[in-house]
């Protein structure tokens, strides 16, 4: 809502500055975004007196003027306007001025004559449509005045952002009420004199009570097709509205002034002496006054004359009864329409009209008459109209006064500080409430324009607003906790944070990608679309599907990092993935996943680190590190194709179930994301991992007292036999003296497809020192068993 300070001052004698008002309104919850000067661009334009005007010797229709603009020099200006004459006071744009149309005035030589400025028309100044000649100002104005000052244009306009509850403040009047209450000033309404005259008229008004509780109209005859006066046009412009003609301008002016949208029909174009406000029963096409054909649906409220619809109620009038240059008689409508229906219709039709915006939020049913009369009186005054006697009206649901019980003590209970009963009473009265004492409590009658006030708490808020919420003290509450709270505590944030802390500690950088991806990204990764959740109204194709896997986002992050010049990328993300699930309340299942991505060198490429690319061992090692970090027992790996975007992959088994997969991003997919070399990726089902971690109990084992004996064996095996198989086979033997065993070394001799794998088996007896002989016996048994069970040979 744009609030010109001078307009406000017609309603309330506020003598302070725009900044003082802006600060106070902001602290009342009416946030002032800025104080602007809507005509700042006209400030360089000055008044000038034409001291001499003679025809240009070298051109017809041009005049050589000498113009006094208050400076030491009289400016020579070549002017082509037919109406320019000596003695006039005119607007002069000096050299260097940029006019609203974008034209910058330069020193010029026109047909041999020097011109140091331009005498402007209304249109050139952006102040109106007149362009037949220059704008001639009041001859009494002194030369050299800045044009906005000379014309009395609004220089200070407050841009106030109005919250959806404050429909009353979508008007000068509403903001004036707040200002009056805030500064203890009286509210002064302009006098409205309705002088009725002329022949009686009749109009039968019927309304559908559910959607139109009030409809009234006045008839104004004998209107002349004139523009509205400059002061009105300038005000409308200051509020961002384009002036049209007196009739339209007056309805807009009163809308801004009172918040009550009005509509003017050309009365001669209405058929039959009836008006009806009712919902349409059937769909139909209707041409609105902007010339567009609109599809109306059953339920839309329309205004009907004797033959058909003439307006979409509260949204936009129809072309068939639009006022024009030829209009002499208007029917001025002032009504109240159902907010929800107006909102639905306006939204569906895509019409964001000032009228609909206010009807959606609710208009003052009592102030309605004042607005209508104000507009009628202005039409009579400014367009020569005569107000016909009487009002055509239907009011099936007259406004009834609303009264709320208010306990003054509630204010202190809610706020934690007591502004006092006197303050509360003064505030409520200043806001237009009537306060009556009833025993301990007050009966507060609410003003008709504050439809947002309904309950005691709403009044508490009003008192708090005027008391100043910034005056509340800061007091820490004693937050209550029960044993139940602690027992059923939600641990997910702490658990996720712990895994994130792990990621950071192993040198990974955390990525946070959008939850939505494109269907194309999914397809590129081979992820199926069925079972995925689609956004019904996505912002773009890039964001149409909720991700079922973190990999598309991680690959995008990789591409961004590579584009940024990073060659070594180590990222992780912990976020939710989404899938359809009929058993869920929302039809969607959400599950926490961990994605880890490695690309480029294993270590930073400088001293003292060794060179070399990260590989499968790195990504696998990170996952095992996480599991050990979380206190989970050993995991198992199974080479298996489980992720469509991975090559050379293995799934990881925890507690018998699959907990994720690691592998190498398929080369053609990695290429598509600009990777130079292999991209290693782990996709971990964090729900499962955290569930198992939650069940883990740490248990102390007494330290061994006797020394170990180590034995190594080097085996030769092909790629078809996994190193895991060696370890599993030893595990299956369950030898009691075996303390631990691990792969000591893997060596590829480079002859054929074989590896030499050295295993170390560590032996220990819990109660005594082992003898070499008994170790040899067990070790021999283990080696013999390996050779029997697996296609391996001792090297």
């Amino acid at each position: 809502m744009l609030l010109p300070l001078s307009w406000l001052r017609e309603f309330v004698p506020f003598a302070g500055t725009a900044e003082e008002l802006a600060d106070r309104l902001t602290m009342l919850g009416l946030e002032v975004e800025e104080v602007r000067d809507p005509f700042a661009h006209l400030a360089p334009v000055v008044t000038g007196r034409v001291v001499e005007c003679r025809p240009h010797p070298g051109a017809d229709h041009l005049f050589l003027c000498r113009v006094d603009v208050g400076g030491p020099e009289v400016l020579p200006i070549v002017c082509g306007a037919p109406n320019v004459a000596a003695g006039q006071v005119v607007p002069v744009a000096p050299v260097g001025t940029t006019l609203p149309g974008g034209l910058t005035i330069q020193k010029a030589k026109i047909r041999g004559e020097v011109s140091l400025g331009m005498i402007c028309s209304e249109r050139e100044l952006g102040l109106g449509e007149a362009h037949g000649g220059i704008l001639v100002l009041d001859a009494g104005l002194a030369p050299g005045l800045s044009l906005p000052h000379a014309l009395g244009l609004e220089r200070e306009v407050l841009d106030v952002s109005i919250t959806p509850n404050r429909a009353d403040c979508l008007s000068i009047l509403g903001l004036a009420r707040e200002t009056a209450a805030a500064f203890g000033l009286p509210l002064q309404l302009p006098t409205v004199l309705v002088e009725e005259a002329g022949a009686p008229w009749s109009l039968a008004v019927t309304v559908e009570a559910e959607v139109c509780p009030l409809y009234q109209a006045r008839l104004i005859r004998g209107l002349r097709p004139v523009p509205s006066p400059p002061w009105m046009r300038y005000r409308l412009m200051a509020c961002g509205m384009r002036p049209h003609n007196a009739v339209v301008d007056v309805t807009n002016y009163v809308l801004l002034e009172t918040g009550q949208p009005l509509h003017a029909f050309d009365a001669h174009r209405l058929r039959g002496e009836v008006i009806r406000a009712a919902r349409t029963q059937q769909a139909m096409d209707f041409v609105t006054l902007d010339g567009q054909t609109r599809r109306l649906l059953p339920g839309d409220i329309l205004i009907w004359d004797g033959e058909g619809p003439v307006a979409v109620a509260g949204v936009m009038g129809g072309q068939n009864a639009e006022v024009s240059e030829a209009t002499t008689t208007v029917l001025l409508e002032s009504a109240v329409f159902a907010p929800l229906v107006v909102r639905q219709t306006a939204r569906r039709l895509g019409i964001a009209s000032e009228a609909a915006y206010r009807f959606e939020r609710g208009v003052d049913p009592v102030g309605n008459s004042w607005a209508m009369n104000r507009a009628a009186a202005l039409l009579a005054e400014l367009a020569g109209g005569t107000i016909a006697p009487g009002v055509a009206k239907a009011e099936p649901r007259p406004y009834t006064e609303r009264t709320v019980r208010f306990r003054p003590a509630r204010v202190a209970e809610v706020l934690g500080v007591d502004p006092g009963e006197t303050f509360a009473r003064t505030t409520l009265v200043a806001l237009g409430c009537a306060v009556r004492q009833e025993a301990e409590d007050w009966a507060v009658t609410l003003p008709s324009w504050r439809l947002d006030l309904e309950r005691e708490i709403d009044l508490v808020e009003e008192v708090a607003r005027f008391f100043g919420m910034d005056r509340l003290p800061a007091i820490l509450p004693l937050v209550p906790r029960s044993l139940e709270d602690l027992a059923q505590a939600d641990t997910s944030f702490a658990e996720t944070s712990a895994v994130k802390a792990w990621g950071r500690s192993v040198g990974l950088l955390e990525a946070v990608n959008y939850s939505f991806v494109s269907a194309a990204d999914m397809a590129r990764c081979g992820l199926p679309l069925e079972g995925a959740v689609r956004v019904a109204n996505p912002l773009s194709e890039d964001m149409e599907v909720l991700r079922t896997d973190l990999v598309p986002g991680m690959l995008r992050a990789l591409r961004t990092s590579i584009a940024g010049g990073t060659t070594r990328v180590r990222l992780f993300e912990i976020s939710r993935v989404f899938s359809r699930d009929a058993t869920s309340e929302t039809g969607v299942a959400e599950a926490l996943r961990l994605g880890i991505l490695l690309h480029g060198a294993r270590f930073p490429e400088r001293a003292p680190y060794p060179r070399g690319e990260a590989g499968f061992a790195d990504i696998k090692g990170l996952v095992e590190h996480l599991f050990q970090h979380l206190g989970l027992g050993g995991c198992r790996w199974r080479a298996q194709s489980v992720r469509p975007y991975l090559a050379q992959q293995a799934e990881v088994i925890l507690d018998g179930g699959c907990a994720g997969a690691v592998g190498c991003i398929r080369p053609e997919l990695a290429d598509a994301y600009e990777a130079r070399g292999p991209v290693w990726y782990a996709d971990i089902d964090l729900e499962t991992v955290l569930r198992l971690a939650r069940q883990t109990r740490r248990q102390f084992v007494p330290l061994p007292r006797f020394p170990v004996v180590r034995r190594d064996v080097t085996l030769r095996l092909g790629w078809e036999t996994s190193v895991d198989a060696l370890l599993d086979t030893i595990a299956a033997m369950d030898e009691s003296l075996v303390d631990e065993y691990f792969v000591l070394d893997v060596y590829e001799p480079g002859e054929g497809m074989v590896r030499h794998v050295t295993l170390r088996v560590v032996y220990r007896h819990p109660e005594r020192t082992l003898k070499d002989k008994e170790v040899d016996k067990v070790h021999g048994r283990i080696v013999a068993h390996l050779l029997r069970q697996l296609p391996v040979q001792v090297v």
Binding site: L28, G29, T163, P164, P339, R343, Q344, E360, V414, L415, G416, R455, I457, D458, V460, M469, D470, L472, P473, A474, I475, L476, P477, P480, R481, A489, D490, F493, S497, K500, G503, R504, V506, G507, L509, E510, A511, V512, N513, S515, A536, L539, L546, G553, A557, T560, S561, G564, R570, F578, T586, G587, E590, A607, P608, Y609, D712, T714, P749, V795
Partner: protein, 345 residues
């Protein structure tokens, strides 16, 4: 024969390494060298057996033998280095680069969420989480935002179906908590939220933290206490907090909270005399919305507003992160350029 010889050669390496590792004196080191690399050492013995091989096999085994010899020599030299008597200060340069394990970093939204949750947990609030895909009921209706309410315009919504949507704020967690548990309640709910909005200052996904306290005799002064504690914990004890009336359908009274600008310390102008661009010269920046739980919300979740009262607040994590770390461009948050995230190590 060939294979056995190769294996024996290869095994020299770990055996030698182990022996060197156990050597405590230069004499022991020398003994190890003689045993393995000496003229009558193990390597020499194995190499002597080359002659027994088939002629074709000799080059390959020869290559292995040479590789093993090189490795053994390297190991011995390293061991010798270790053993050298080093005068104080010599052979030592503290300026040589250290082996720094990779330094990881958390995303700034994570850092801010953890920091805020930590402060509020110290004050007694419990952290909870809930679904990002929500029902219209939890996201809007129960929060006093019935269908057609003009305040729904404040949040452009991404829908899955007509009644299912991506939550537009973390406030549905108020509803879920109050439906699931009886008061007194004190929770905070951090998480992702979504809006159908994308420009320089809006991303379609961002993070919020919701706070809710429901108890007997909760006051707005207590709300101010908690938020002041929070803001001062994050931005420093000299930060000032300003409460300004506002409107949210689910709180009444409602307030917008501003804090004194971090860049110009609330003066509106910088040292250079320029107008501060962060607060646009006002000295204040808006950081969160809050208020007392509206009785209509209590009615939706079956809590008696005559007995219980409460406050709620919601803050934007990215906004706090931008102010705290001086990040100027919101879009950087979700591009995940390594150079961006690395700065939050």
């Amino acid at each position: 024969m060939k294979r056995e010889l190769v294996a024996q050669l290869e095994r020299l390496v770990p055996r030698f390494d182990e022996m060197l590792a156990q050597a405590a004196a230069p004499e022991e080191l020398e003994a190890a060298r003689v045993a393995f690399l000496g003229r009558k050492g193990e390597l020499a013995a194995l190499m002597a057996r080359m002659g027994e091989l088939a002629v074709d096999d000799r080059p390959e085994v020869g290559r292995v033998a040479n590789a093993v010899k090189a490795k053994l020599t390297e190991l011995w030299q390293q061991a010798q280095q270790r053993m050298l008597p080093r005068p104080e200060g010599a052979y030592f340069d503290a300026g040589e680069p250290g082996w720094v394990p990779d330094v990881g970093a958390l995303h700034p939204t994570t850092l801010i969420q953890q920091e805020i949750c930590a402060v509020l947990q110290r004050l007694g609030f419990e952290t909870v989480s809930g679904p990002e895909v929500e029902t219209d009921f939890h996201n809007f209706e129960a929060l006093n935002l019935p269908p057609g309410h003009p305040a729904r315009d404040m949040q452009d919504t991404l829908y899955i179906t007509e009644r299912i949507l991506l939550r537009t704020h973390t406030s549905p967690m108020q509803v879920r908590t109050m439906l699931a548990r009886r008061p007194p309640l004190a929770i905070i709910a951090p998480g992702k939220v979504y809006r159908r909005d994308s420009d320089l200052t809006h991303t379609p996904m961002f993070h919020q933290i919701e706070g809710l306290l429901v108890d007997r005799h909760v006051t707005m002064a207590q709300l101010r206490g908690v938020l002041t504690a929070l803001v001062q914990a994050i931005f420093g004890p000299s930060t000032r907090v300003r409460f300004r009336p506002s409107f949210f359908p689910f709180t009444e009274p409602s307030a917008e909270v501003d804090m004194s600008c971090v860049l110009c310390t609330g003066r509106g102008v910088l040292e250079s005399g320029e107008l501060c661009r962060v607060c646009k010269g006002t000295g204040w920046v808006e950081i969160l919305g809050c208020g007392m739980v509206d009785p209509a919300v209590f009615a939706q979740v079956g809590i008696d507003a005559a007995v219980w009262s409460g406050f709620a607040f919601g803050l934007g994590v990215e906004r706090i992160a931008m102010l705290k770390y001086g990040i100027g461009d919101l879009r950087l948050f979700f591009e995940n350029d390594t150079r961006f995230v690395r700065q939050f190590a």
